[in-house]
Every structure is written in structure tokens, then in C-alpha cells.
């Protein structure tokens, strides 16, 4: 079966002062139909850059991005336009994702209208159905974004992304701007929608507990490269990359008994700059296990058990 998304040796470099910023370097992964892949990492690791490239918002410096078998790298405007109907995006901040002067009915209906999928009464019915699907009422269609709370606005953004029944939903930190009590509502909604539509999802987040909750498989990025890609249960039960272990140890669990008994794996140091990444394994400057080979040779992603790990020592 064709993967919904297949990324091969993706590179995204940007001009910087002097050396180019290597935001994404040699990243490869795929997402099967109906599968949700979590892409996790800290700020500057390149996860959002990858997300933007999967919907054609950024052109790859090198490598390939295929959505449902169609190549996006170097694609012409017509191909990009066609593929964007199949790959839709939900951004972090629902406030800036919606036009304040457009009713939410118009916003949700716009993709259908632009693509000539529906108009008139049929469009209104489709919008009403989409609103109900995300837990809002059809009569909300005539209201403006400011009349909704943050959580409701994220529901509106999700409804708009679902309008064209995309094969791939790309969610970039969809709950990070929301309050805790609202976050749960949106996570429940996303899990429900995945089950109902068998949609593939690329779920970008810095929050490992959230990713564990909604994803089937998880890819961990560090400074532009993949550190580890593994099925969810394997990754959380047996993290193989030292960075994955450190990241998991750093998640503060909302339970003092668990949290305070946790062994600390303090990562010393700061995240280096992607303009001047460390030689060899990019994690070696902070890795408690680093040896000479780590400083000199770039570790390739290789299969270890159920996981793919880019670590000489795994």
C-alpha cells in the first residue's frame, strides 16, 4: 500500500550569517494510511520545518516528500495545489489561524467553495455537518472568531482542515496554546476523528505525554536529525537513544510520588546552534555516553529490535 506520506533524505537549509542553517538534515520516515506519527523534539530541532515541508509550504533543499505517491519537491503549482487538498494543516495558535473578519461558517466553507466541491445550500449543509463533527453547533456558523474561546477556535480550525476530507492531517503543536482543561477536549476530539476517518496524522509536539496519548509511532528529532523512530510502546517502554531517555526523564509527571522517585538523567549544557552543529553525532556535546566515535562519525539510523536508532552505542 502506498504510504500517505513518505519523506526520504529530506534536507532543508536556510541562508544564515556565513554558514547555512541546517534546520533539517537527512530526515526519512513514512506514515501509513490511518497511522498517526508523533514528531517530537525541543525548540530548534526542525520539527515544524518538516511539518511545513510536508504540506508544500517550504521547498526542500534536497530529498523527497511524497504525499500519496506524488512528489512535492520541485512540483509545479498545479501539482502542489492538488496535493494540498489532500494534506491539511492545523497550527498551534488558533487565534492567528482564523481571519477575524470572516464568519467561521465562511472560513470552514472556503476550502469547499474554492475547490468547487459544494456551493449554496449544499455548502451550508456541509459546514453544518463539519461544525457538529467537531462539537460545535450549526448555528455558530454566522459568528466571528472573537466570539469563541481558544478551545472552540481550535475546533473551528480542525473543522476547516477536515472540510476536504484530507488523507493527511498535519498538526503542529495543536494543543500547546490551550489551557489544561481545554487541551483534554481537543485531544479527545483528535483521537475520535482519527478513529472515524482512518486519517493519517503527522502530530508535531514538544510534549511527550501528549504524543504518547495520540500517536501510534513516534519520531524523535534532535538538531535537524532523527535520533529514533519507533512504535509508541517500544519507544516509551524501551527508549534506545540516550536523547530519548533524557527527554523522557525530563517530562515532569503530574504526581509527586512518581516524579520525585524518578531517576534524574540531567542533560548538561544547552542545545547547540543548527548553524554550527557539532561534528559526528549532533547530540554528543550533551550525551552522557559520548565516546570518540560519536565525535567523529555521523550515526546512521539503523534497526535495533522494533526501533530505528541513530546512535553508535545503541
Amino acid at each position: 500500500m502506498t504510504p500517505t506520506l513518505e519523506i526520504t533524505n529530506l534536507k532543508l537549509h536556510f541562508p544564515g550569517h556565513g554558514a547555512p542553517i541546517r534546520a533539517v538534515d537527512d530526515v526519512s520516515f513514512s506514515i501509513a494510511p490511518g497511522e498517526t506519527l508523533g514528531l517530537v523534539g525541543e525548540s530548534g530541532c526542525g520539527k515544524t520545518t518538516v511539518a511545513n515541508a510536508t504540506v508544500g509550504l517550504l521547498a526542500p533543499t534536497a530529498g523527497s516528500v511524497r504525499v500519496l505517491g506524488t512528489e512535492l519537491a520541485g512540483a509545479d503549482a498545479t501539482t502542489l495545489r492538488a496535493i494540498r487538498a489532500r494534506a491539511q494543516m492545523v497550527f498551534q495558535d488558533p487565534v492567528t489561524s482564523l481571519n477575524p473578519r470572516m464568519t467561521i461558517g465562511t472560513a470552514i466553507g472556503e476550502p469547499l467553495l474554492v475547490r468547487k466541491v459544494a456551493r449554496g445550500a449544499e455548502l451550508r449543509d456541509r459546514v453544518a455537518a463539519l461544525l457538529e463533527e467537531v462539537g460545535l453547533r450549526p448555528d455558530h456558523a454566522n459568528r466571528y472568531p472573537h466570539q469563541f474561546s481558544g478551545g472552540q477556535r481550535q475546533r473551528i480550525v480542525i473543522a476547516r482542515a477536515l472540510a476536504l476530507r484530507p488523507a493527511l492531517l498535519v498538526c503542529d503543536e495543536p494543543v500547546s496554546a490551550l489551557d489544561v482543561s481545554v487541551r483534554a477536549q481537543i485531544l479527545n476530539l483528535l483521537v475520535e476523528l482519527q478513529a472515524r476517518h482512518a486519517m493519517s496524522t503527522l502530530f508535531v509536539s514538544h510534549d511527550l505525554a501528549v504524543v504518547r496519548h495520540v500517536c501510534d509511532r513516534v519520531a524523535v528529532m534532535y538538531l535537524g536529525r532523527l535520533a529514533e523512530v519507533a512504535p509508541r510502546d517500544a519507544l516509551y517502554a524501551e527508549p534506545r537513544h540516550p536523547y530519548t531517555r533524557a527527554l523522557l526523564a525530563a517530562v515532569p509527571e503530574p504526581d509527586p510520588a512518581v516524579q520525585r522517585a524518578k531517576p534524574r538523567v540531567p542533560l548538561s549544557g544547552e542545545i547547540p546552534s543548527p548553524a554550527n552543529p557539532p561534528s559526528g553525532c549532533r547530540f554528543h556535546t550533551r550525551c552522557p555516553l559520548a565516546t570518540d566515535i560519536c565525535r567523529n562519525a555521523v550515526p546512521e539510523l539503523r534497526q535495533v529490535g522494533e526501533s530505528q536508532v541513530a546512535c553508535h552505542l545503541a
Binding site: 489551557d179 482543561s181 487541551r183 505525554a209 496519548h213 533524557a246 515532569p252
Partner: protein, 315 residues
């Protein structure tokens, strides 16, 4: 810890914007070396409370009632000039965005020395020691650098150094790790806890993150819509939350131990706006255990177990 004289006492504090009481009759105390968390969602009044303690409230906010004591001294009505002598010396604050809180044009060494009211030339040894204490390597080089040359995590260490160099009795930390990555957050939380104990600083930690609370708080005040819903030792609040809001909030957080894709507990509706506050419990319209009484009267914060208080008729 409860035997020592509290480093900070807040009593019956009420703050209003126009007619709306946005912080309603809250009180707590913090002992030396203790970390008290004020936890709640946006708009619950936790940051306003911090600003009221610092006496740095925005002009539109009026303190209607309440007393604030720093050690034995009542600072509620001190003139601004006296407050200026207290801020940064006996009562310090750190903020969410370290880069925004530091002066971009001044070296970090001078900024830390300024907290001692000394020129850097004089204070250099003390500044150097403080930088080491907050875990900044190569302090001799860093002293001359400006904030843009440092990462967010390092800037937060610098802000902590500014706040603690004068050995204040009380540190107010307003979302000190919210802008930081998790691995850096873990470092900063470890640092705050170590310094609080070593220096016997009382810390008021303001956060929305129950994970952060679980990590370093000794005691917790859970705030909702300007009131304290529940307060008590961190271990008790997490193990046996009494207020329905606390219980739901805890159940709504995805954990590394729960069943993936299982439904998370949801708090229906949204936090009321100050203009919508009625005479009863402010959580009543979202509460699964609401009774007629809840919308008519305000529940008082009452002790249910040692040090564990709750404001709920159903609890």
C-alpha cells in the same frame, strides 16, 4: 517547617478591576526554604496575586482589601520609596520570558551587580560566585556578555542570579520554566529547589503546569477564577484532591502511565469572565457535583485534614 515564622504572609487579599473582583479574598503563607505553588489556568488571578505582593499592580487594578507581611513587617501600605528598597533585596521576582526581562544593552555582570546596588568593578567576586552557583560555566567570560549572546536557559539562570544575589527572604517565580524546553526546564527546577533549601528562601511558584508543581512544590494553592479552590501539602493534593476542579484538572492531563487514546476527563464549558461572576461558587456552572446551594452562596475555604483546605459544599 510550620514552626518557623513564615517569610511571607498574604491575608484576605482582594483585587478588583472596576466592579469585578478578580482576586477574591485569598490568603496563604510560605515558610523559609519552602516552595508554595499557586496553580491555575489563564485568568485565575495567580499572576495578579504575585504583582500585588510585589506592589507592582497595573494602574487599572485596585487592591480592595488584604494585608501582606514580609517576615514581621507589614508591607501593605509602605510608601513606594520604601518598597523600592525592599524589591530585589528582601523580595525578588523572576519572570516567564528571561530574554524580555533582562536589559538587552547591559552586560549580565552589570545587571547582577545592580541588584546589589554596586558597580560591577566592586561586586565582581560576588557576581562571579553567584554565576557559579546558578550553574553558568566559564563565568569570567559570561560576565561581559549581553543577554542576546546567551540561550533562554542561561538567561533564566542569570535572572535567578539577579534575584537571589542579595539573599532575599522571598522569591516569586512567575512561570519560570514555561518558555523553556523540557530538558532545560528540568535543570532550572533542580536549581530552584536546591537554592531554596540551601539559602532558606521562601519561593512562591506561579505555574499552570501540574507536572512542575509535582516536581518541586511542598504545598499547593489551586486557584480558579480568582479564588483558592483548594490548598494543602502537594502529596495530599495529588493523591486525594478534594475539590471537583482539582480532581478533574488532574484527570484531564495525559500521563506517561495512562492508556493511550483513552478518553481524558473533560471539564465542560469554559472559565467564566469576571463580568459573569455570580453570588455562588465560580466553578458551579462546570461542576459535575453542583447542587442548588452552589450557585447561591460562596463556599468558604475550610480545613478537612491537617493543612488541607477546600472551598466546596460537596467535598
Amino acid at each position: 517547617m510550620s514552626n518557623a515564622q513564615p517569610a511571607l504572609v498574604v491575608e484576605n487579599l482582594s483585587l478588583a478591576i472596576g466592579p469585578a473582583v478578580v482576586v477574591d479574598n485569598i490568603g496563604f503563607e510560605v515558610a523559609p526554604g519552602e516552595v508554595l505553588a499557586l496553580v491555575g489556568e489563564s485568568g485565575c488571578g495567580k499572576s495578579l496575586t504575585a504583582q500585588a505582593i510585589m506592589r507592582l499592580l497595573p494602574p487599572a487594578i485596585r487592591q480592595q482589601a488584604g494585608r501582606i507581611r514580609l517576615g514581621a513587617e507589614d508591607i501593605t501600605a509602605l510608601p513606594e520609596r520604601r518598597m523600592q528598597a525592599i524589591r530585589g533585596r528582601r523580595l525578588s521576582m523572576i519572570f516567564q520570558e528571561p530574554q524580555a526581562a533582562l536589559d538587552p544593552l547591559t552586560s549580565i555582570g552589570s545587571q547582577i551587580a545592580e541588584a546589589l546596588r554596586q558597580p560591577l568593578a566592586e561586586a565582581r567576586p560576588a557576581v562571579r560566585r553567584m554565576l557559579e552557583e546558578v550553574g553558568i560555566s566559564d563565568p569570567d567570560r559570561r560576565i561581559a556578555q549581553r543577554p542576546f549572546e546567551l540561550s533562554g536557559g542561561m538567561c533564566q539562570r542569570v535572572m535567578i542570579a539577579c534575584a537571589l544575589i542579595s539573599r532575599p527572604a522571598v522569591l516569586i517565580a512567575d512561570e519560570p520554566t514555561t518558555a523553556l524546553d523540557v530538558t532545560i526546564q528540568a535543570q532550572i527546577l533542580d536549581l530552584l529547589r536546591r537554592l531554596a533549601i540551601e539559602r532558606q528562601t521562601a519561593v512562591v511558584l506561579i505555574t499552570h503546569d501540574m507536572g512542575v508543581v509535582a516536581d518541586i512544590a511542598d504545598r499547593v494553592c489551586v486557584m480558579y477564577a480568582g479564588r483558592i479552590a483548594e490548598s494543602g501539602p502537594a502529596a495530599d493534593i495529588f493523591a486525594a484532591p478534594l475539590h471537583p476542579y482539582t480532581a478533574l484538572l488532574l484527570a484531564s492531563i495525559p500521563r506517561l502511565s495512562d492508556v493511550p487514546k483513552s478518553a481524558l476527563a473533560v471539564i465542560e464549558g469554559r472559565v467564566p469572565q469576571p463580568s459573569e461572576y455570580g453570588p455562588g461558587c465560580r466553578f458551579a456552572n462546570r461542576c459535575p457535583r453542583v447542587m442548588p446551594r452552589c450557585t447561591a452562596e460562596t463556599p468558604k475555604l475550610e480545613a478537612r485534614a491537617a493543612g488541607h483546605q477546600v472551598a466546596c459544599f460537596a467535598a
